[in-house]
Amino acid sequence: MNKLQKIFTRCCQENRAALIIFCSCGYPDMESSEQAIETAINAGADIIELGVPFSDPMADGSIIRKASEVAIRNGATLPKILDMAERLSKRHPETGFILFSYMNILYNYGLEKICRKLPEIGLDGILAVDLPLEEKEELAKPCQENGLHLIALVSPATPLERARKIMSEASGFVYSINVCGVTGVRDLQQQEIVEHLAVLKAHSTVPIAAGFGINDAQAAQRLSQIADGVIVGSAFIKILSGKGEFSQRLEAAREFIADLAKNVRRQP
């Protein structure tokens, strides 16, 4: 059993959803983001999405866009992020790690090269936001050759037939986008999302994780009743970008994630 399977199996046995936290690497700087990820793991995150900033993040809302801009300005690069990822995965061998970025960043580094590198440094998967089914072959092939999960996405706009094809070819887990739009914190139509997740789950052999717009423990709690995992990104970054000393923001982030971790439990 691979590491992601183990994580989802363990969560299932514990009668809860996996807690997946997205972090903008290099925000506000490399050292601070390493602390932030460390904090997230210690507070109960099961899987970390390591966001590699891109200058033109067309699928992101304002919170992650601003974080990306600051991270790039403060010198975040893919090689530095990979070094950080290696340290984190050594310290946390039970935690899942997914590299999360846009295709240009990965293509520029080299698709074969990144897919060889990630398993070597203990990472489990890769997600390219702008890589739909139609274009995935060039990344799926080296992923497969190196035992790396290529995380696929489905959205509420994805027709069921297409979603079934995506899920049948999926590896690791499927990222189900809660809303048609960009990342961010917002009020979700939770009932519709729950219904959509139920349909997906009925057709999927891999775990389904729900993300986009989850901004509090209540939303996480509701979606955890059906999703195999819940993904929180912008709400976490928003706390990290708040006022006050970074150590205080880190503490607020720790409390937020610990609260989420309690709320991903399923009701009997």
């Binding site: 993040p57 067309m58 893919l78 293509y107 702008d130 089914l133 696929a152 706009a157 994805t158």
Partner: protein
């Protein structure tokens, strides 16, 4: 599904949420292509509203002064709204209407595509929002007013470099959330498939007309077809008429800005490397980390860090040749055409003209160059004045 790539270039590198929107667009376009009524509507508007066909004009005094090749100008500057952009916006807006969309969105840099989109939105009674970098909003105040006069809402985008690429990011984000009622009207042959195909098709009227006009006026095909390339829609439009004639040399002229070595340019093919942006794989200006870099050109319409994927393919295959012209040569060509022919060209078009001027003397008068005069230069008077002041000329 048609072939969505040009060799390794093109494709549909978008978030999953946009895929159904692209599929819907492709199907609607392929249906419209087979629909004689759609063609009739499009052709009628091109004739009666845009004023096509646009003339082919022999620039006799300019050619004689250079003492070389005969330079012919395809006068897209005489179109309604002053540039080739309207050919595409009419086609796409009609398509939007057929699809039952009620709202048009567009990105714009210098504002010409924004004006052309606002124009067709007014013509067809559709809602219109244009995304424009906040820097460009300041630099192109007149075009902002034109769009507003035409009833469009202009949304300034202040993130990133606050220019065209950021406006395109924001338009894509808007479309991701609202594609049910909204049609994204892309202004150039870039973006995800099917945009490069449909923008090329709607602009190919330039090349089709020009080929026939060359045959009528000179009795033969031109030796070289020269057009400026930012995203590359006017170039792809005029090249389209000559792709089946390998004896015709196709030349795309990129913005060399202050020179390729200076790093301050917008020459994606001549000075960039392959990457993925705004839904397609193509040549891009980017740094060693894969971050898209700021571009520079005196001509705002060429100021884009990417280029249409078919151009990237044609550059690699040798079907077309790509060169650069720097700011100062473009400005000199701008002046020269005004003085010798009484035509003030857009600074974008002046780049194509400058290349023709550069090589004209190497050829006899029996050689013909066809230059796409893609737009008129009224919008550039301020820019040219400031450029000359800075140069101390």
């Amino acid at each position: 599904m048609m072939n969505t790539h040009y060799g390794i270039y093109g494709g549909q590198y978008v978030a999953e949420t946009l895929m159904p929107a692209l599929t819907e667009l492709e199907q609607a376009y392929l249906e419209a292509k087979r629909d004689p009524e759609f063609h009739k509507e499009y052709q009628t508007l091109l004739k009666n509203y845009v004023g096509r066909e646009s003339p082919l004009y022999f620039a006799k005094r300019l050619s004689q002064s250079l003492g070389g090749a005969s330079i012919y100008l395809k006068r897209e500057d005489l179109n309604h709204t002053g540039a080739h952009k309207i050919n595409n916006t009419i086609g796409q807006a009609l398509l939007a209407k057929h699809m039952g969309k009620t709202r048009l969105i567009a990105e714009t840099g210098a504002g010409m595509h924004g004006v052309a989109t606002a124009t067709v939105a007014a013509l067809l009674g559709m809602e219109c929002e244009v995304f424009m970098g906040s820097l460009d909003v300041q630099r192109q105040a007149v075009n902002v007013e034109r769009m507003q006069t035409l009833g469009a809402k202009v949304n300034p985008v202040s993130e990133g470099s606050a220019t065209l690429k950021d406006a395109m990011n924001e338009a894509l984000r808007d479309w991701t959330a609202r594609f049910k009622d909204t049609f994204y009207l892309i202004g150039t042959v870039a973006g995800p498939y099917p945009y490069p195909m449909l923008v090329r098709d709607f602009q190919s009227v330039i090349g089709e007309e020009a080929r026939q006009q060359c045959l009528d006026q000179t009795g033969r095909l031109p030796d070289q077809v020269i057009a400026c390339v930012g995203g590359g829609s006017n170039a792809m439009g005029i090249f389209a008429g000559f792709c089946d004639y390998p004896e015709v040399r196709l030349v795309g002229v990129e913005a060399g800005g202050k020179g390729l070595d200076s790093g301050e340019h917008a020459a994606s093919i001549c000075g960039g490397k392959v990457g993925i942006l705004h839904g397609c794989k193509t040549y891009l200006l980017q740094n060693a980390d894969g971050q898209i870099t700021d571009t520079y050109s005196v001509s705002a319409g060429l100021d884009y860090p990417g280029v249409g994927p078919e151009h990237s393919f044609m550059a690699d295959s040798g079907e077309a040749h790509y060169v650069t012209v720097n700011d100062d040569d473009a400005i000199a060509a701008f002046d020269l055409l005004a003085r010798y022919e009484g035509i003030i060209p857009a600074l974008e078009s002046a780049h194509a003209l400058a290349y023709a001027i550069r090589i004209a003397a190497d050829f006899p008068a029996t050689t013909t160059f066809l230059v796409n005069l893609s737009g008129r230069g009224d919008k550039d008077m301020d820019t040219v004045r400031k450029f000359k002041q800075e140069q101390g000329a």
